[in-house]
């Protein structure tokens, strides 16, 4: 039972990260590879502020979101260029850069040794412990995320993003400052990913850089693609599937290290297969 709750919590946490990623890829058409790094920014900010400076977890999470917001606008800089390839390259670099910082700024992050003993989350003085507690907390964070994303996507702001995804020149000609919209999309997406990361840090209570690599960005990408871009439900469905499948693999009985490799191969294959045969994802409509 605890095991099932654990899986559900993970599905929720990665669902938050995937849903925020979908704002960029699915709604705004901005291909960023840096999303796992923002997830990491939230995780490390919460971990360090609660562990070293005794900050209340909510404040630490908020600080993480602020840092992620600032860094997101840096990633957004190259989106001034119309060609999306510049954005891919720069976001790729930012992902690697942040990972390098997590790994090598050992004075701050203890590098590969990671940060153990992260205090549990607490809201208004009440500590969250046990799986059930975290399920509730995750659901609350999920609800917040969905609320924010719905507000953004169903608004005139969201309509402009949809336009940018299809033809940003046309949108610019209609008098919209496309760059501003792109930067804001990045800021919202990055902040929400950071929130997911903060939750992750408190739940697993030990983090190391290896949870925030390019592999994780690919995992999030997979969740969005499989679930369906440009739908609100899609990323959650995708996260459920992509968290669920490796767990099912467990029952096949592969040795531990092989399992991790096979899991990654599966994600890679899923991306290719879906792009070829069902690009709109499970929840998406045929374009």
């Amino acid at each position: 039972m605890e095991y099932i709750l654990h899986i559900l919590i993970f599905m929720g946490i990665y669902g938050i990260a995937a849903a925020s990623f979908n704002l960029l890829i699915g709604y705004a058409g901005l291909f960023s590879l840096a999303h796992a790094a923002f997830f990491g920014v939230g995780a490390y900010s919460s971990a360090l502020l609660t562990l070293r400076l005794d900050w209340p977890p909510l404040a630490a999470a908020a600080a993480g979101m602020a840092i992620a917001a600032i860094l997101s606008s840096v990633v957004a800089l190259p989106s001034l260029r119309v060609s999306g390839d510049y954005l891919v390259v720069t976001s790729f670099g930012i992902q690697v850069l942040l990972y390098t910082v997590f790994l090598n700024w050992t004075g701050l992050t203890r590098g590969a040794m990671g940060l153990p003993g992260i205090p549990p989350a607490s809201l208004l003085g009440l500590q969250v412990t046990g799986h059930l507690g975290y399920v509730v907390l995750t659901l609350a964070a999920l609800a917040f995320t969905v609320w924010v994303l719905r507000r953004v996507v169903l608004s005139p702001f969201g309509r402009v993003l949809k336009g940018i995804r299809e033809d940003e020149v046309a949108v610019e000609a209609l008098g919209k400052h496309v760059y501003r919209f792109k930067v804001l999309a990045f800021v919202v997406a990055g902040s929400l990913a950071s929130l997911g990361g903060s939750l992750f840090a408190h739940y697993v209570s030990f983090i190391d850089p290896y949870s925030f690599t390019l592999d994780e960005s690919v995992f999030l990408l997979g969740s969005v693609i499989v679930g369906g871009t440009a739908t609100l439900r899609g990323p959650f469905v995708g996260a459920v599937i992509l968290v669920g499948i490796p767990e099912l693999l467990r029952f096949v009985g592969l040795p531990q290290n092989v399992a991790a490799t096979v899991r990654q191969m599966l994600f890679g294959a899923l991306l290719v297969v879906f792009m070829r045969f069902r690009p709109q994802g499970i929840c998406g409509e045929q374009a």
Binding site: P156, E166, H177, V178
Partner: protein
């Protein structure tokens, strides 16, 4: 009628090619002006220069007595100078009405935070903008298509939609890039009619056109361009019967 838009001695070169070479032209308010000339004359480049899509190497663009040289396109559009594209650029993944709602200026809902802190005000304004958008749709007499996905419109209807977008933008000066290209006569008449009615609304219209019948029927003034320069400006009767210019247009002389 005063001059509302002016290009003063503008030049633009792409690599070794001088697309626009010291062109000067003034557009009078509240009338229809057509820009004509052989292919490669620099008409589209001039369009791009006037609307901010390309920055001139030299010269100035003045709109409503403001120097807008080097302004980015969105800023030019907000100021009231809007353009259409030869390849339409209709947003096919939205409905017709959404295309027009998108074009509405000054929407509070496009400020991200307004959606969280002044939700009610945004919703009220959205309803008002929707009405304005429907009026723009009414202008091109396609109100019944409001909720159709834009890609389901015929080519001619999309060309009308592009004009409706400019109306929805509340633009003062509307620059249309080949608005009747590829249309059958009945559709050409519908588009021409819409353009005439734009001026009745008090708008200024500048056209790039190859269809000389349309030019003759609609324009009060014709600007003839060749090789990046303005060769002649005048009423269509004069410009279109100038033997020398006709030869240039047909490529019979330099």
């Amino acid at each position: 009628m005063g001059v509302i838009l002016e290009a003063r001695d503008v030049s633009k070169a792409f690599g070794g090619l001088r697309a626009v070479n010291g062109a000067s032209v003034a557009f009078a308010a509240r009338q229809i002006t057509s820009i004509i000339g052989p292919n490669g004359a620099g008409k589209t480049t001039l369009f791009n220069l006037l609307t901010g899509f390309v920055a001139p190497d030299a010269g100035r663009i003045v709109f409503e007595d403001t120097d807008i040289t080097g302004w980015p396109p969105y800023r030019v559009a907000i100021k009231g100078l809007a353009r259409s594209f030869q390849d339409l650029r209709v947003l096919t993944q939205m409905t017709v009405l959404e295309n027009l709602c998108l074009a509405r200026p000054n929407q509070a809902g496009e400020q991200l935070l307004a959606n969280f802190f002044s939700g009610r005000r945004v919703r009220k304004q959205e309803a008002a903008e929707r009405e304005r958008a429907l009026e723009a749709l009414e202008f091109i007499r396609l109100r019944e298509k409001a909720d159709e996905p834009a890609h389901r419109l015929s080519y001619g209807q999309q060309k009308l939609l592009v004009i409706a977008r400019l109306v929805a933008m509340d633009a003062e000066v509307m620059m249309l890039d080949e608005p009747t290209a590829g249309l059958d006569p009945s559709m050409i008449e519908r588009v021409s009619d819409a353009i005439r009615r734009l001026v009745e609304l008090g708008k200024t219209v500048v056209l790039v056109e190859h269809n000389l019948d349309v030019v003759r029927a609609l324009s009060e003034e014709v600007v003839f361009m060749n090789e990046g320069r303005v060769l002649e400006v005048g009423p269509p009767a004069r410009v279109l019967s100038d033997r020398d210019l006709i030869n240039v247009y047909l490529g019979l002389s330099a």
